[in-house]
Amino acid sequence: MVASMHSSIPSPLDGPADGLAAASALRAMADRIEDAEVERAMREGWSWSQVAEALGVTRQAVHKKHLRRLLMAHIELRRRSGE
């Protein structure tokens, strides 16, 4: 097991490791911001289509990604006819 830590393995710091870590951290941050802002938008009465357009994705995509969580949060969602 310890043999896997051979000196030929690149450092977890510097070079590509810093950039890859930044990409990962920003992706996680973007997910958190999206979760929080979709929830805020739906609490404020936005429609799925409005949220999707603002995010630049399809209504189906945002619905699939967030519906369950929003239902668990007991957020009143606009019906499709209200869009």
Binding site: M1, V2, S4, M5, I9, S11, P12, L13, A17, D18, G19, L20, A21, A22, S24, A25, L26, A28, M29, D31, R32, I33, D35, A36, E37, V38, E39, R40, R68, R69, L70, M72, A73
Partner: protein
């Protein structure tokens, strides 16, 4: 292995762990404190470091890694990582949730339910721990906290090895001590 690696919740794993439920609860506490949706390896490591009475906690503290120093190293890792993208890290808190709160005051997403799931780095640490504990000692099942510590330490890339490199910790030596712990 597939059953364990594929699991998302912490609780079902307890049956094959010799890790105290108080430490497992601490995984969730550390993840929530970090504002994370998932329990990652760094949250497990913080939980192990916070329990000075456990074998894993003692190993970490002997290596100079108490909870406070580990948290500081993780903050520095976050600062360095965000700096790469031209962003400044907050002074308090472990990671980007604080930055999120700054960007969107009052906005915090509701989780799917009360209990965070295991993230990829945590699953990989458990997987390495289970493989290593069987391989090195020829025993089956029962994962100990020191096995999990070794599994966490064996990640070559990601938040934990970056933070430990920043803290000047000899990760390989510490992993070796954790594997050899009897």
């Amino acid at each position: 292995m597939n059953r364990v690696f594929g699991a998302h919740r912490v609780a079902p794993l307890l049956v094959s762990w010799e890790i105290g439920s108080n430490i497992v609860r601490q995984f969730e506490i550390e993840a929530r404190r970090d504002g994370a949706k998932f329990i990652e390896a760094e949250h497990m490591l913080l939980a192990l470091a916070s329990n000075a009475d456990s074998d894993a906690g003692r190993l970490l503290i002997e290596a100079g890694l108490d909870h406070e120093r580990l948290a500081a190293a993780l903050r520095e890792e976050s600062r360095r990582t965000l700096a790469f993208a031209g962003m400044s890290a907050p002074d308090n808190g472990l990671a980007a949730i604080n930055e999120l709160n700054r960007l969107a005051p009052g906005a915090e997403a509701t989780g799917l339910d009360g209990a965070p799931s295991l993230g990829t780095s945590a699953k990989m640490a458990v997987r390495r721990a289970m493989i290593g504990s069987r391989h090195d000692r020829g025993r089956r099942g029962r994962l100990r906290a020191t096995d999990l510590l070794a599994g966490i330490l064996e990640a070559d890339f990601g938040t934990v090895p970056r933070a430990l490199a920043i803290a000047g910790i000899d990760r390989a030596a510490l992993a070796s001590r954790a594997w050899g712990f009897e």
